[in-house]
């Protein structure tokens, strides 16, 4: 097997196992499912709206991820740095890029697993009516991409510090910015004081318009490119930070 791939999968497998060898994975998945059920059924009133679509389910994901994904990502590098295992990892022919890709893949797949486990919501909608399954699939795609962007941001803040709490808080702040930058109450407020191009510029950083388009079932290359660029940018920044920290 190609050495790059070999190292990436070895690191990814170790991270994946680390989630499930500790209670983290189970606690996270249970809380995630409970909260997404709570928001969908109690807050968004899935049953009362009388519509067989999953808008009420997906619209809360940016907020859920904002809090929960940093909890999954915060240990990725902070723990390696605190315990010194980073010195081991980077002296056994593993490069920072291979290691961070492995970690990213593991954390993202873990989020995708949690997302897949929300399938009963889809079953409920199908049982009660006939939702547009294309729209549901596109919504899931959007949510998975959104989770990937959060994971990448969380991994970046994790590389910045050996303190997991700081990493968590920084990741939440970045997540909050990326949500609020395009949130109508915020853009309206900004529009009163700033020129239109600036408001649009800031708003275009936001997850929201891209995620909403995917929720509506519109798979636009520009939205996919947006998520891909957020992920690539965050991974690249992580690599820069790591190279700086380890003196490479």
């Amino acid at each position: 097997m190609n050495e790059n791939l070999h190292h990436i999968t070895a690191v990814a497998k170790r991270e994946w196992r680390a989630y499930f060898d500790s209670p983290v994975a189970y606690v996270f998945i249970i809380i995630f499912l409970m909260l997404s059920g709570f928001f969908t059924f109690s807050i968004a009133r899935f049953f009362e709206t009388g519509q067989a679509d999953l808008t009420g389910f997906f619209q809360w994901h940016p907020w859920l991820y904002m809090i929960l994904v940093p909890a999954v990502a915060m240990r990725l590098w902070a723990e390696e740095r605190r315990s010194g295992t980073i010195e081991l990892l980077f002296t056994v022919s593993v490069t920072p890029l291979q290691a961070l890709l492995g970690k990213f893949i593991a954390a993202w797949l873990f989020m995708i697993l949690a997302l897949i486990l929300t399938f009963p919501v889809v079953l409920t909608a199908v049982y009660l009516g006939s939702p547009d399954l294309g729209m549901v699939a596109s919504g899931y795609l959007g949510s998975a991409l959104l989770a990937g962007a959060y994971v990448a941001a969380g991994m970046f803040t994790s590389a910045l510090t050996r303190n997991q709490v700081i990493s968590f808080i920084l990741a939440v702040v970045i997540g909050l910015f990326l949500i609020l930058a395009g949130y109508p109450p915020v853009t309206d407020l900004l529009a009163q004081h700033a020129p239109g191009w600036l408001v649009d510029g800031v708003a275009s950083f936001s997850f929201m318009p891209h995620f909403e388009a995917l929720q509506r079932g519109v798979i636009d290359l520009r939205d996919l490119t947006y998520f891909a660029s957020v992920i690539v940018f965050m991974l690249f920044s992580t690599q820069v930070v790591l190279k700086n920290k380890v003196g490479r």
Partner: protein, 314 residues
């Protein structure tokens, strides 16, 4: 196999390693000695490819470590000072992960893991979670990891730190056993260890190499080298000995009538025992005991790492 030249590493305004050069060939067990903070760990980290030197180069089997750490690290087994381990893994799980990273898979991977577990006496804890291990087992687990790919070069940063005497002996025996076909570089501040296993000692102080020689040669730089401890009975002995040109200082340790125990310090490490013995025979002194000092490494170590001016004078 290892060749370092002109290594410099700064941390902020502090120069941790200042123009360090050395080389080591197969069969060598090189001990890096020095007070805490002298730059031992930083030097080893640069050889291991974890830190990039600000100036200078390390070649490992002809590979420039800073330019191609991935290739160089294939020949290196490295045990960091803090013995970092993934706490949530089991001993065998940890070793399997590292064997995989080292490029082994399937049956070959399992064979390698089993082999190092046996070699490092880890069988009793192989399925135990690492966070429950004692210090000695942690040390050996981290050591085992360095052997997985049977590297030509072992870099061990304080391999026996914090172990009990039996465990230290085990680690030393392992190092000695492997030294024939490898280059082993270890840092330590335990001087007895250097005498016990190292073929060469490099003493680093304030980031500079201040001595680089065989331990037995280094010991000759001790002020006590060739000093004589004497238990003797006879008339006016100290007065006679004082006339010897090579004896610098005479200390009387104890006296009992004409019998006394004396400590004779030579000038500049010159041999004096033969002269003393000959005089004793001529004057018919009664000699109970005579010991010649081989010199002490801790003495040398203290002198060259504390005062610069003594080194200049030599």
């Amino acid at each position: 196999m290892i060749n370092a030249s002109g290594l410099i590493k700064n941390f902020g305004y502090r120069r941790a390693v200042d123009d360090v050069s050395f080389e080591a060939q197969k069969g060598a067990v090189v001990g890096i000695l020095g007070p805490n903070g002298a730059g031992k760990t930083t030097t080893i980290r640069m050889v291991a490819g974890f830190l990039v030197p600000d100036a200078g180069t390390v070649w490992v089997k002809g590979i420039d470590v800073a330019a191609d750490p991935v290739a160089a690290q294939k020949h290196i087994g490295y045990m960091p000072e803090t013995t970092p381990l993934y706490e949530d893994m089991t001993v065998s799980g940890f070793l399997r992960f590292l064997a995989e990273v080292r490029g082994f898979s399937g049956a070959e991977r399992q064979r390698r893991v089993d082999e190092v577990i046996e070699r490092c006496f880890l069988q009793p804890v192989r399925n135990q979670s690492i966070d429950t291990l004692s210090k000695g087992y942690r040390q050996r687990t981290c050591f085992a990891q360095t052997l997985l790919h049977d590297p030509d070069i072992l870099l061990l940063d304080e391999p026996t730190e914090g172990l009990d005497p039996n465990q230290k002996q085990v680690v030393r025996d392992m190092i000695r056993e492997m030294s024939k076909e490898k280059v082993i570089m270890l840092s330590t501040h335990v001087l007895e260890e250097v005498e016990a296993i190292c073929t060469r000692a490099i003493i680093i102080s304030a980031g500079k190499v201040v001595a680089d020689d065989q331990p037995s040669v280094l010991k000759t730089r001790s002020t006590r080298y060739n000093a004589v401890t004497l238990d003797v009975e006879g008339e006016g002995i100290p007065a006679i000995l004082e006339t010897f040109p090579n004896i610098g200082k005479i200390q009387t340790l104890s006296t009992d009538g004409n019998r006394s125990r004396l400590f004779l310090l030579p000038k500049l490490g010159k041999p004096i025992a033969a002269d003393v013995l000959e005089t004793a025979r001529e004057k018919r002194w009664k000699l109970f005991d005579l010991k010649v000092d081989e010199g002490r490494l801790d003495d040398v170590f203290r002198r060259i790492t504390t005062t610069e001016d003594i080194r200049e004078a030599e």
